[in-house]
Symmetry: C2
């Protein structure tokens, strides 16, 4: 039985990134960039106007005042996306935001300082030479590094990719994560109940959803009965996956075939079995594949334990495989309302808590029957409060560390 | 020109949820539940064992000690998913976690307190009657309300839906959000540059990605030139959308056709134009459709302004349409490193900041050229610091409110 921290360390030391692939921008959100992105052009590509107004030669507006305005013939127009026009001495061009600075012009006078009459513009004030011009390359130059490889693609990054004419981009692949639910008693949704002892699965699809959240590709391998034949057949379906998750079949019962069969069928080398944590003690981890590049997690069948193991152990591995650097859920300190007591302090315990953000910082409220194995106790939970080894009592209002798996409690309410 | 708070209020007062639809569980993550979910069976469905061990009659183990153990014939086996077996006086059954409690048995003795020899089990200790039995309906009863309509579906909720045999479920529809990019100068990705004044779009796909993040369905209506014909044609493509977003074409230039044409083509009733904020002043908002149930946002073409407007105004509307109650990005207080100064304090200003979570709370660092209209300044940003109306200076280390649009800065680093 190893410590939680050691288990996580072993997992991540044995986790490698998967390969690269090219994706279109509509599928790039949240993926991790695998190439450096450079500017294809200067930005702006040419001198242009930052205002609506008139493009003029500074010489022509020098000394202009309310009483003695500069009066210039309007001979052209420059709008965004338009042609390059010319301005000669004594003349001006209409110009709009984004319009090219006309040949000969060196200054843009904003509309508000002017008046137009009979195709002439009256300018009532001298402004600085070069005013309101956004210079070519002022934001960045062709060849500048704009986004470094390894960054996660968010809306801003995707906008930049588009602006440098990259409709497709190299990103890390997403690991395929096979989910095998084991146990004679487990029914898939839709299957008829034939025996009183049968239980409908919850883990299959809660884990499916956790894989989606973590950015992996869930593959439901199915349900295996507690027979060597069925276990062997279903495990063989996992061969194309990067990660195999099994639920059930890793505790001490005689019908626990999985741990032995993953070794026989897939060549899994088990690196640890059992972790000093509660819930989730009977978790197994191993590596397999030609270069031991694939991972195996034997996850307990208890639905709450399965959630804990996934969030703390499987999710960081999926994130590392897909190229992410921030692989762990946030850990914050929160005041624990009502406190918490337990008899033994041998294991690190994760207690379900609802979180709130207050003026005084985070507040955690234990939720649901903590000993319970039922998922309904997770409905209001946002995180797992950590009751450390050796601790048997936390007083009301005392601070504990909380691992957040759902950050939505921070969002603002419609009616607030 | 109205205040930011008033603008948000007007938007949400005019936003209604869209209809309902049934989705399969693999498409349900993040959707908002539109029906109450009840238990279809008792859970557990029958008395069953919480341990591996032996099912016995309490009468038979009463008074058992190390020296004087109870000795019972093993006559049956009860495993998870198995048949209901029987125990008679003087006998016991093997039982595994999840196995049905045999007829006649009332207590489960955990394996650790027993020894097996010659098909007999030796029990060395009396334990309480009823020990290790998980009673029928102990977690919840058939007909109990398990998840209320209106909750957002996370992995735990999806596991529960599966466990009550709901492969499909009613959720709120996602609004279709049309994106029309306007301006003669704007090129789509892949289009050849023919004039120096042409600019490649960034807004189209950054907004596309923001719509995805907000849980809407992005529809790229395309790019319209600054002519009445093209503007009219492209706007007509938006008729099937719940929300129309245009970028560009809402400032004061002569070529700003959009605001007039949305009224002509789609019957948009403009409810406000221009908000006392920076960036994002020239934003327009309106309603359209038979029951004014559809929304229109005219978003400025400046990419940073577009991001600000989307996060603060469009995202809450999308979220409300899809049934969410927490519609706003989180607002936290953070210490502003380096402080911030500006000349005028007339408008609420949003400054891009990178965020960090420290022992002392959140810390914000202004990022990129703040005046700039370029998206590259967003690459390291996680939030918008709010410089309130009337404030012209924030001192180094002073607290400001920050609207978070990217919570990933809270996650834990691989190498930490």
């Amino acid at each position: 039985m190893i410590k939680f921290e050691d288990a996580v360390k072993i997992i991540l030391e044995n986790t490698k990134t998967v390969g690269l692939e090219k994706v279109f921008l509509d599928n790039a959100l949240g993926r991790v960039l695998a190439e450096d992105i450079y500017a294809d052009r200067d930005n702006p590509p040419a001198d242009n106007s930052g205002m609506d107004g008139f493009a003029v030669r500074y010489e022509d507006i020098r000394g202009a005042t309310e009483e003695n305005p500069a009066v210039l013939d309007i001979i052209a127009e420059s709008k965004a996306g338009g042609e390059l026009v010319k301005v000669k001495p004594g003349t001006a061009a209409y110009i709009y935001t984004g319009g090219l600075i006309p040949e000969g012009a060196d200054t843009v006078v904003q509309k508000e300082l002017t008046k137009v009459e009979d195709n002439k513009v009256f300018i009532f004030q001298e402004i600085k030479k070069g005013s309101n011009i956004r210079p070519k390359g002022g934001d960045y130059k062709r060849g500048d590094l704009l986004i470094e490889s390894g960054r996660k693609l968010r809306p801003a990054e995707i906008g930049i990719l588009s602006s440098v004419n990259k409709p497709t981009v190299y990103v890390y692949q997403q690991p395929r994560v096979g989910i095998l639910t084991t146990g004679d008693e487990i029914l898939d949704v839709g299957e008829p109940v034939e025996k009183l002892s049968q239980i409908r699965t919850s883990n299959t699809y809660s884990i499916f959803s956790q894989v989606l959240e973590a950015g992996g590709i869930p593959v439901v391998i199915g349900f295996s009965k507690d027979t060597p034949e069925d276990t062997e057949r279903k495990l063989s379906y996992a061969k194309s996956c990067d990660i195999l998750l099994t639920t059930g079949g890793v505790s001490v019962g005689e019908y626990d075939l999985v741990k032995d069969f993953v070794t026989k069928v897939l060549g899994v080398e088990i690196l640890f079995w059992k972790v000093k944590q509660k819930p989730g003690k009977p978790v197994a981890f191993g590596v397999w594949g030609a270069e031991k590049e694939k991972l195996f997690f034997g996850i307990p069948g208890n639905p709450v334990a399965a959630m804990v193991v996934f969030e703390n152990m499987v999710k960081p591995a999926i994130r590392k495989m897909r190229g992410e650097k921030k692989v762990f859920n946030p850990v914050i300190k929160a005041k624990l309302l009502g406190g918490y007591r337990r008899k033994k302090g041998e294991r690190l315990e994760f207690i379900r808590v609802a979180l709130e953000m207050t003026e005084d910082g985070f507040v955690a409220r234990p939720f649901g029957k903590q000993g319970s194995n039922i998922l309904t106790g997770m409905v209001f939970a946002h995180g797992f409060g950590m009751v450390e080894v050796g601790v048997t009592e936390i007083k009301d209002g005392e601070e504990i560390k909380v691992i957040i798996f759902d950050k939505s409690f921070m969002d603002g309410d419609l009616n607030a």
